[in-house]
Amino acid sequence: MTTPFLDISGNPIPHGNILGSGSSALVLLQGDAAVKFPLKCLWTDIYKVQAHTQKPKYEQEVCRRLEDSPYNSRSNGVIRCLRMFDDSTHLGYMPNSDLQSYLTKFRPSLNLQFSWCVEITRTITFVHDRCLLVTDIASCNFLLDSDYRSNFVISQRYLFFHWGLI
């Protein structure tokens, strides 16, 4: 079964490959990576498509800012960026959906609650240290990996800042 979404070359995308879709991007599962493409539908006009294709560049800028230096590995709480292309970004695949869905279905243990609180605070600390702010710190923006560790998504909701100006 195909969907109304089109890939970069204009071919329809099968339903089973889609992990999620937003207002400007589509996430597909390709091998062990979640690939983020600009959103393109059968009815989307060319101007909107052009606007959507600019967005991966901004997110890739954020990815570069959040990359680890060889001397530290604090970016563990942010989804790993595997590869970057002009029109798509390959990110680490998180098999256990997002934290919001988890919290609506299950009540985590006290230890898990504590480890999430500390992990998430550590991630925000790291993001701030890299001179970025997040406009939407919410449970739907944290994805859970196979070990149920929370990973912050890379999106348009990051803003750059300078410590002296804020």
Partner: protein, 144 residues
């Protein structure tokens, strides 16, 4: 490049959102924070008034959540340090844990009391048996 200053976002709002998120993890209750509802300026985010947010006192990490919302933490590093220490003093669970511990201790005490009683009775019976055997032999020796 979109900068924080252009849009009015700041560290204070970020830490406030972090506090709300911690509240959601601890209570499982989703809180919607309206950053653009303030009358002070249109299209600029402001941290909402205290009354619009749910009460967090009395829950585990409650003082951290309140601190994030009230602007007591200037940086995320301060929240991290506070979160690390908070594990030692879970507020809501403390009474439950203490209650459980009391039950556990009383069961342990009960078990040890029962064991002591059993050992005492066994020893008493053994001694009694030994005494009887001794009496029997004594009687046998004196009669024959």
């Amino acid at each position: 490049m979109k900068t924080a200053n252009d849009r009015g976002f700041n560290i204070r709002i970020n830490i406030g959102l972090l506090g709300t998120f911690i509240y959601e993890i601890i209570t499982g209750e989703k809180v919607r924070v309206e950053l653009f509802d303030d009358d002070r300026a249109a299209n600029r985010p402001y941290w909402p008034k205290r009354q619009t947010l749910p009460e967090a006192t009395g829950i585990w990490h409650g003082w951290i959540i309140e601190g994030c919302r009230d602007g007591q933490f200037q940086m995320a590093h301060c929240v991290l340090r506070a979160s690390g220490n908070a594990h030692l003093t879970p507020l809501r669970q403390s009474s439950d844990i203490r209650f459980g511990q009391t039950i556990k201790d009383s069961i342990k005490a009960q078990v040890s009391l029962e064991r002591a009683q059993r050992i005492f009775i066994t020893c008493f019976l053994l001694l009694f048996l030994l005494f009887c055997t001794f009496l029997f032999f004594l009687f046998k020796v004196t009669v024959f």
